[in-house]
Every structure is written in C-alpha cells, then in structure tokens.
Symmetry: C2
Subunit: 304 residues, 2 copies
C-alpha cells in the first residue's frame, strides 16, 4: 500500500450519479454530482472527475461503483460489469465497469455491484451490521430492493437477489388493490413501495399522518416480506432503509407484526431481541457513497 490511500466511490442512481474521493478513514475529500443522462455523457463526467482528482491528490488506490440494476455482479460472467435489462433509455447492456477500466487504469482494483449489495457491505463494515456475517439490507422507497451478506460474503447466485419482488398474500382489507408492480402486481414492491402507498390512498406517502390506517397496512406487508426473508436467509439482523422508512414510527409497528406473523416458530435469541433485529441504517444520509467505498475496499482486499 502507498503511504496515502485514496478511495473512489460512485453512487450511480436512476436520476443522478454521485462521485467522491475519500481517504482511508472515509473522510470525503471531494465530491461531484451529475444527472443520469445518456450513459456516455454521464460516465465521461464521472471519469473526468476522478482523473482531475488523481491529478490533484495522487493515484486512486481502488474504486467502488454502487449502481442501479439490474446488473451483472459476477466476476466470472462474460457480461460482468454491465447493466442488464433496464427500462432506463440507453443504459441496457452498458459496460459500466469496462468504461472506467479504460478511462482510468486497467490495473485499478474496481468493485462493481448493486446499490443495495453495496449498502449491506457498508453497513457490515461501518454501520448497523458491524461484526455480523449474515445480514440483510432492504430499501423501501420508489422500489424495494435487498442485498444480503451470507457467511461474510455478498450473496450472488445467477445474479444479485431481487427480494423486493417476492409474492405475498394480499390483506383481506386490501383485496381490491391490484398492486403497482408491472411484472407481478402484488409482490412486496407492488404492495409496499412508496408508489404503492400513494396509489392505494391517492396521496403521497409522506403526507399521510401517523395515525392513518395506511401505516398499519404498510407495517403488515413489510413484516410479511421480512418473514419470508428471515425463513429463507436466516439473517442475524435486518437493516431497513429508503424513503418510506423515514417514517421511523414504522419500526416498532413492523417489529410487533413480524413477531405475530412468525407465530413463535423461530425461537432464536436474535429474533426475540426484536429491537436489535429490525433496525434503521447506521449510515443515514451517507449510505450511498459509503456503499461505493465499501466496494472499493473489498476490491482492494480481493486483489491483495
């Protein structure tokens, strides 16, 4: 390692890309935002930022790219580093990783993964999941997505998980609601994302008061999703983030509904201690860039 290390991070979202350079203690030295336009323009602006930073500060030690999906996060795959079938115009099959390898350096360790995979890694290193090897991060916002750490490694099979789309029973009081997911209707995202709440109650989720019945139903659906995630992944902790979870009064509602739905089936100390089982992010406001940084650190370690 050099005397001084600089880690690059990209938080690639559907509306903007945020780039940053941090020192090895995660202090952000500089930062830049660019709208998500067509890939060539957006990615070139990001590369220019890092080239300028390298000119001013010194060579990057590693780069991490936490990107919207679906994407191919498997290093052994022929399409590794690419964005896959996205509805975002122009981005399908974009080789994001290849672009930065060419623009920066073919020798630079670069990590590439989904925003939620990056988030669960960052939470395990610096946030609400420190010390745990089996962890889930679920974001509940415009969509619902999840990343998982299993035995200390990111869960990738044929690709990254898409646990926001698991199919759930519709609540009897909600039977007329058809869900907002264009693929599955009443999957978790179709029932419990921000747009689902807005579609069901005809007003934005954030404008609904705490005593509105919307929230009990929301807690129910999120708890249903968490039951299935618990039973399938047996995580030691589940971290909930995303815009909907800014309604922090949801946490106790979700915890008690999850306890009820599990029906005393899982007699595990982790689950009995529900306050420490279902928790908010430990990286509020900085989770995105920290995700990129976590991927950068992991890429460096994988190379060493």
């Amino acid at each position: 390692m050099k005397n001084e290390n600089f880690f690059g991070a990209i938080e690639g979202g559907g509306t903007k890309f945020i780039c940053a350079v941090a020192d090895e203690h995660n202090a952000i030295l500089r930062e830049m935002r660019v709208p998500t336009a067509l890939p060539q323009a957006t990615l070139a602006a990001c590369a220019d930022f890092f080239l300028q930073a390298q000119h001013d500060l010194g060579e990057l030690t590693a780069l991490g790219i936490a990107c919207f999906g679906p994407l191919d996060p498997r290093p052994t795959s022929p399409t590794y580093g690419q964005i896959l079938a996205t509805p975002k115009p122009g981005w399908e099959n974009t080789d994001v990783l290849g672009f930065f390898r060419t623009a920066l350096s073919t020798h630079l360790p670069i990590g590439f993964d989904t925003d939620v995979d990056a988030a669960v890694l960052a939470e395990s290193r610096w946030g609400a999941g420190q010390g745990l090897s089996n962890l889930v991060y679920l974001t509940i916002g415009t969509g619902i997505g999840g990343g998982a750490l299993v035995n200390g490694q990111l869960l990738h099979g044929y690709a990254h998980p898409e646990m926001g789309h698991i199919l759930l029973p519709v609540h009897p009081a909600d039977i007329s609601f058809k869900g907002v997911c264009p693929f599955h209707g009443t999957c978790l995202e179709g029932l419990a994302s921000g747009p689902a709440i807005e579609a069901r109650w005809n007003q934005p989720a954030a404008s609904l008061p705490q005593n509105h019945p919307a929230w009990q139903l929301e807690a129910h659906y999120l708890a249903l999703g968490l039951v299935n995630i618990c039973l399938t992944l047996a995580p030691e902790r589940i971290i909930l983030g995303g815009g909907v979870m800014n309604q922090s009064f949801l946490f106790p509602m979700i915890r008690s509904e999850l306890t009820r739905l599990l029906g005393n089936y899982l007699q595990m100390p982790q689950i009995a201690d529900m306050e420490n089982y279902i928790v908010p992010t430990g990286l509020a406001g900085i989770a995105g860039l920290y995700g990129g940084l976590a991927l950068a650190h992991q890429a460096l370690q994988n190379q060493q």
Copy 2:
C-alpha cells in the same frame, strides 16, 4: 490421510436412524437401522454400530450426521450440535454431536447439520448440482424443508433456513382451505406438503390420479414458493426431492407455472433453460446417507 479411509454417515430421521460406513468412493461397506426411540437408546445403538465397524474395519476417518431439525449447525454457537425445540418427545436439547464425540473419539472430525443442508451438499458433490456454488435443495413430503449453498458454502445465519414455512398467497379457488401448518396455516408447507394435499382432497396424495385438479394446484403452490426462493437466493439450480415429487409429472407443470409467475422478470440464461433449472435429485434413494457422507467429507476438509 491413512492408506484406507472409512467414512461414517448417520441419516437421523423422525422415525428411524440409518447408519453406514463407506469407503472413500462412497461404496457402502455396512449399514444399520434403528427406530427413533428416546435419544439415549437410539444414539447408543448408532455408536455401538460404529464402534463395531471400527473394530472390524479400522478407524473412521470422519463422521457426518444429517439429522432432523430444528438443530444448531453453527460451530461457534454454545448450543452447536444440539437438537433445538422439537415436538419429538425427549429430543429437545439433545446434544447429538457431543454424544458421538464422547462415544467415539474427541479427535474424530464430525459434521453435523440438517438433512436438507446435508442433501444440498451431497447433490453439489455427487448429484444433480455438481459444479454449482449456488444451489437449493427442497424436499416436499410430510413437511417441506430446504437447504442452500451460497458461494459454495452452506447457508447458515442465526441458524439453518426454514424456507418451507414462507407465507404465500392462497389461490382464489382454494380460499376455503386453511392450511395444515400449526404455526402459520397457509405457509408453503401448510399449503403444499403431502398432508396438505391429503387434507384438501380427503385422500392420500399418492392415490390421486395424474389428471386430478390437485396436481395443478400443487404445481402452482410449489412454483409460488420457488418464485420467492429464486428472488431471494438467486440459485443457479433448484433440486426438488421428497415423497410428493415421486409424482414426476409435476416437474413440467412446476416449470411452466414458475415461468408464468416470474412474468419475464428474470431474464437469466439459467432460468430460460427451465429443464435444467428445476430438476429431480441426482441421488434418488441414496440422498440421505450421501448427505451424511458429504458432511463427513466436509468435516475432514475443514480440519485439514
């Protein structure tokens, strides 16, 4: 390693324990069955079998115990090796692993895990999942249970998964059926296990003809469960075993229903090749003992 290796395997089920000793090519040299009575008697009979085998053949190289659950499969846990909260009289908190350590040898490498975890490991070594690092084995019989390999390792979090109990939407044509799971009613096991089929149609599953509507509904529920398992674990292949799957005509029905339910959402080559994605066990009739042998081989490798 010695010149000649002998691997011990235990298939510990709710009605009987089967013990075997095999050579390193899995040729079974001797075998013994004993009813699952109270733990002390059953485990002592198993230990006697292995002691006699060691006397006749030579020392065991390793032992693998594939056992009914719930149990604690985590080596770092204080209750590692024990059966947990089981309804089976006398077996709760039985230290199965500790019993064999004491009865045989404290130095013997011993693997201990659930029957389904052992099965997915055996399938990945010698059966229908060879060469794959991300694999699910699901048994559909008296109950429904699943084991998963993630990044080549058995998935353990706070414990082993219990994916047979994920909650599913009840089919509109089945709305009067309350499910047979005492904990969750209409979870996957409550809707699609052998006893669920029997309770719904008032006759044993195996007696229902192939053209009975029971099977289309069964394929639907199993496919629903598989959708959620796919989206959460992203496995490269799913192996289905257990008594219900002896109705092999279910396989094409499940594959086409799974394709329909996924709604073209996962555009993965593995899933497009559905014939090689949802497959029967490659170890029919020998999966149980091979599970024990796989745990024995893994225990030896972990020690080396």
